[in-house]
């Protein structure tokens, strides 16, 4: 296994920048996820690591070797494609054995490796089938098997679950995590699905328009997003964003929006947010931090339930507060009817504030807890 290091890595297609000045390290045995919307440069980054695209600028190191111009065949990296890219004219066994045969491995070694991987993935009974005779999930396993038998330094996975149906995707997500834990492999995983990134990764790197926004553990990203884009991209349903301003009244600080006003926790002293007074800010509240058990006070948000979606385990409510809609998630099946007037409590320790213009985060739950500790 190995470390992959990207230094100032850029890729331009003509004048269009797909990846711009990326600095990122996938440590040995780490599961690194590149997360972002389509067109953010995550697949291009993966292709550059694989050698399928040449970087315009910057360096890629595999362990300590510079591999910018090394042909893909010599990098000893294995890639699982979104479309699986199995060889349609070969059966499963030949698909898996292909790379080993190219490298002229002895027949016993090929047999042992292919059979071992097939057993591990539960496809040992499918070895003589052609890809078109397999289901999506089975093809996915073959694609993984083809990567595993090679014993590569790095596994590159390009949205491997996005062609599967929802139930199978959940199942494969867990299986993949188990599998790579067992293999103790360095994995670079590309996805646009924040749930996959959050559940599987040791480290998540979020990209937008080819620029790295933030790197960190899933929980760091969730509780300490550096900007509004990151905060909005992780978490489902999406974080609520409301334009607001700050107002001080003695020691207390209030967040004022068009429809409601919230007091910030005491540990947020005015001096810490001094530069933000008089500016337009954006208040971020995650749907799960809005609660229906409100005791009427000044910080209660009042509104009308516009849409109620029962998911069984949760209920998603769209709350019309007058000039905007807030999404809230209530646990269990809440007995709320559309049109009903609701009073909602905000978990004040878990609110976010972002600068309106630069989108930079000025207040996050993690910062709050740090400030609380310091005080």
């Amino acid at each position: 296994m190995a470390t992959v290091r990207m230094v100032n890595l850029s890729k331009y297609f003509g004048k269009v920048g797909a990846v711009k000045g990326l600095n990122l390290v996938a440590e040995d045995k780490q599961f690194l996820t590149l997360l972002g919307p389509s067109g953010c440069g995550k697949s291009t980054t993966l292709n550059m690591i694989a050698g399928l695209e040449l970087p315009t600028d910057g360096e890629i190191y595999l362990d300590d070797a510079l591999i910018n111009k090394m042909p893909p065949a010599y990098r000893n990296v294995a890639m699982v494609f979104q479309t699986y890219a199995l060889y349609p004219h070969m059966n499963v066994w030949n698909n898996m054995a292909f790379a080993l045969r190219i490298h002229k491995e002895p027949k016993e070694v090929i047999d042992r490796k292919v059979n071992g991987a097939a057993t591990m993935l539960g496809i040992a009974n499918l070895l003589d089938r052609r890809p078109r005779e397999l289901s999506g999930g089975q093809r996915q396993r073959v694609a993984l098997g083809r990567a595993i038998v090679r014993d590569p330094k790095v596994f590159l996975l390009d949205e491997p679950l996005s062609n599967l149906d929802a139930a199978l995707r959940l199942q494969m997500r867990a299986e993949l995590k188990l599998l790579f834990d067992r293999l103790q492999a360095t994995v670079i995983y590309v996805t646009h699905d924040q749930a996959e990134a959050m559940t599987m990764s040791d480290k998540v790197a979020i990209l937008k328009d080819g620029v790295l926004q933030q790197v960190g553990s899933p929980l760091e990203i969730y509780y300490r997003p550096v900007n509004r884009f990151v905060a909005g991209f992780v978490g489902s349903p999406k974080m609520n964003s409301v334009t607001c301003t700050l107002r001080a009244e003695g020691e207390a600080i209030f967040v004022r929006t068009a429809d409601f006003e919230l007091s910030l926790p005491e540990k947020t002293s005015a001096s810490r947010l001094a530069s933000q007074f008089g500016r337009e800010l954006v208040l971020g509240i995650r749907p799960e931090d809005l609660h229906l058990d409100a005791i009427e006070n000044a910080s209660t948000i009042r509104g009308k339930a516009a849409v109620v979606e029962h998911l069984g385990s949760d209920t998603i409510i769209l709350l019309d507060t007058g000039s905007q809609m807030l999404t809230l998630v209530a646990q269990g099946s809440a007995t709320v009817r559309p049109g009903e007037n609701l009073s909602v409590r905000v978990d004040k320790d878990r609110i976010y504030l972002f600068e309106e213009d630069s989108e930079k985060a000025v207040l996050t739950p993690e910062l709050l807890s740090v400030w609380g500790g310091a005080a």
Partner: protein
């Protein structure tokens, strides 16, 4: 409700009837000349051009066919042999060269849009009126000392077929998902290995189509063959035309040889039409 059902049923029948009429008409267009050709070949000379035309011959004779092979002056056998050799060789060569050229054109990255330019030139050759290339081919073959040889016709036919083959193969290669080749690249395959082990087996249906189209073209080509072959390298279409003489038209032997030229094509098409249809619509439906 009942009347709606009946009306729908009548509509169905009318549609089926209309379809049948269209099919029969188009079949007649295609088949009548062939039937006429065959009937003429088994008629006695008096009935060849009689007015009104004789549809059912009063006497059936196979004399014309016998003459083709028994007559020491007839070169039908030589022409048949030439046609087979030239068609096979020209087809094999044009598919081989064409599929390699197309692969390069779809994979090469050259500056200044050179690749689309080359591909465009190849396509342009396909639109070129054939008659304009007759004299150049004649001069080149004469200078090379290849006049009246099978080789001359094979070279000319390869030239004729390449535009179709190259463009057909380009579309086939472009239909192949690029990830499959990338996957092979990561698995350690070099360019030749990728072509030979991955692309070739997957593009085989395309090559079969290219081969079929090329073979059909070679088998019936007349203009260039007639300008390059005088005696020894004559192909079947030239032999057929040889019955149009200043001393008159030999309708019987001409029809017999014409029939013999067409029959292999019909048999060939019956066997390969499955590939033709599949090949020409390749990739239209995603698997």
């Amino acid at each position: 409700m009942q009347s709606v059902y009946i009306r729908a049923q009548i509509g169905e029948w009318l549609f089926t009837f209309f379809r049948a009429v269209v099919i029969v008409l188009s079949l007649l267009f295609v088949i009548l000349p062939l039937i006429w050709l065959f009937i003429n070949s088994i008629k006695i000379p008096l009935e060849w051009l009689s007015i009104p035309p004789v549809i059912v011959p009063s006497k059936i004779t196979f004399e014309n066919y016998v003459q083709l092979f028994a007559d020491p002056n007839s070169d039908a056998l030589l022409c048949l042999k030439n046609s087979v050799i030239i068609t096979l060789a020209a087809t094999a060569l044009s598919v081989f060269i064409g599929s390699l050229a197309a692969y390069s054109l779809t994979h090469l990255k050259l500056p200044f849009k050179i690749v689309p330019f080359i591909a465009g030139m190849v396509l342009l050759l396909g639109f070129y009126p054939k008659i304009t290339s007759v004299i150049p081919y004649f001069v080149v073959m004469k200078n090379l000392g290849l006049m009246d040889t099978q080789m001359a016709i094979i070279i000319a036919f390869v030239g004729l077929n390449l535009p179709t083959t190259v463009w057909l193969m380009i579309t086939f290669y472009e239909e192949l998902p690029k990830e499959i080749e990338q996957s092979a690249m990561l698995d350690g395959c070099g360019p030749w290995g990728r072509f030979y082990k991955i692309v070739l087996p997957l593009a085989l249906p395309g090559m079969v189509v290219a081969a079929i189209l090329s073979a059909l073209l070679c088998w019936i080509e007349f203009m260039i063959a007639s300008s390059l072959a005088i005696v020894n390298a004559k192909t079947l279409p030239i032999a057929v035309s040889a019955y149009l003489q200043d001393k008159g038209m030999h309708w019987g032997p001409m029809s017999a040889l014409g029939t013999l030229t067409v029959v292999p094509v019909i048999i060939f098409c019956v066997f390969v039409q499955k590939y033709l249809v599949r090949g020409l619509t390749f990739g239209a439906i995603k698997e």
